[in-house]
């Protein structure tokens, strides 16, 4: 087996967004950005990619420094939907047009009539969801023919779910020899929202599968369900908190196959010169940590995160009961007038006394789930 010392690339998430690109431009001009992460499926409003953006992606792709980050596949939808088939076709085309070093997606399922009109929500960890997730990951791998990864969740409803997430990710990714994006702001949300210490949670993730780390900012929510409590949300609209930089310092040395560290921030959080300057400084801080901690990594056995040929079943994995439960959950979260009503309806739904374990869901997180679902619903009406 080959032993290698992985070089870590300081990267930015960069989409076709004028504020995001304006913030990245000084870093590009100073040759500070090692790699780009692009959400290739966030182009649904665009007819074509402009030549200059295509050339930028191609330049990074040609140096094996372009990575693709999907948003809308909806890995765990109980029913196989037309949108997923279209998403795979788009991915195949994108992989013909650009040279991606790897492709990633998010954990969970999207509610709503299509993938741009709903909220991303979690799922119960069962043999059914494991079967569906593995089948879908194989289809992604088959379409892109490069390493495939999943990002850890920011949102959970119970501490039990938080602690089981890493093991479930490991099981999901094993058949395609996949990897995880360890999103440290997501981890920060879980640490804060459930009062867990970093040392107690970090080793519950399959760190040997970490190929990419994300850092970003977010926002605080005052809970009405639990007065005095603040909930951390992964809104990506602010600068990186110092606590997240400290998590980065502590995480790098634990991830022997780390290749990319990515700074993410939405364009809506980069509309002023001051915000863009902070973004610039955040990148330099991140790069400094990456260089210092990367120097200290020792060579280890190589992992390409490639799999042999995958066997695709003729039938797509589905579960109609899960699908109906997902629709019911979405409907409750999108229409409940209060968190008390949402909890009451959940306890009298098909999710009650099931693998969803809604009885253990923290009311303050149900309240946040409602806000997320209703935010996406409102945006879908406006879009």
């Amino acid at each position: 087996m080959e032993w290698v010392k992985t070089g870590i690339l300081s990267s930015v998430a960069c989409n076709l967004d004028v504020d995001m690109l304006t913030a990245c431009l000084p870093l590009l001009e100073e040759s500070k950005i090692d790699a780009l992460e692009w959400s290739f499926d966030a182009l649904y409003r665009e007819k074509e990619i402009p030549d200059w953006f295509r050339d930028l992606l191609t330049a990074f792709g040609n140096e094996h420094r372009l990575i693709g980050h999907g948003i809308f596949f909806s890995l765990f939808s109980g029913r196989w939907l037309a949108g997923q088939e279209e998403w795979l076709q788009q991915l195949r085309q994108m992989c013909r047009d650009f040279r991606f070093d790897h492709i990633t997606e998010h954990f969970g399922f999207m509610t709503g009539k299509d993938f741009h009109h709903g909220a991303p929500l979690g799922i119960p960890y069962t043999s059914t969801t494991l079967r569906i997730g593995r089948d879908r990951l194989k289809r992604i791998y088959d379409a892109c023919a490069c390493p495939v990864g999943l990002e850890n969740l920011a949102f959970s409803t119970s501490v039990e779910e938080v602690k089981k997430h890493g093991v479930f990710l490991d099981q999901l990714l094993e058949p395609v020899n996949g990897f995880i994006i360890l999103d440290l702001h997501n981890l920060y949300c879980q640490l804060h929202n459930f009062g867990i210490a970093f040392e107690d949670l970090i080793d519950l993730y399959p760190l040997h599968r970490v190929r990419e780390i994300h850092i970003s900012g977010g926002s605080w929510d005052e809970s009405q369900a639990d007065p005095g409590r603040t909930v951390r949300r992964d809104t990506h609209d602010n600068s990186v908190p110092q606590e997240v930089f400290r998590l980065l310092e502590n995480a790098i040395g634990r991830c022997p196959h780390l290749r990319y560290v990515v700074l993410e921030q939405l364009g809506v959080g980069l509309q002023t010169a001051a915000a863009r300057k902070t973004f610039y400084n955040d990148f330099l801080t991140m790069q400094s940590i990456v260089r210092e901690k990367g120097e200290m990594l020792v060579p280890g056995p190589a992992n390409t995160f490639l799999s042999g040929p995958v066997q695709l079943s003729g039938e797509k994995a589905e579960d109609e009961t899960l699908y109906r439960q997902q629709l019911e959950l979405s409907g409750i979260l999108e229409t409940a007038a209060s968190y008390e009503e949402a909890i009451h309806r959940l306890h009298n739904s098909s999710l009650a006394r099931s693998d969803w374990k809604v009885e253990t869901w923290e009311p303050y997180m149900v309240e946040v789930a409602m806000k997320i679902a209703q935010k996406w619903k409102v945006n879908s009406v406006n879009s």
Partner: protein
Amino acid sequence: MKLSKSLLSAVMIGIAVHGATSCKKEKTDPDKAKQEAEKKSKEKTSTPYPCPACGMG
């Protein structure tokens, strides 16, 4: 990673002229492109969308 000056110039012009979401491949005259960019900018202000790159939380 070092990028060529011509690519950086193209990106700079692309940001200035095409704006946030203009993706027409064919070349357009700059005045028309600016008007389009202004129009799209107004649309963006009136309908902020938190989605791309997953501001999910």
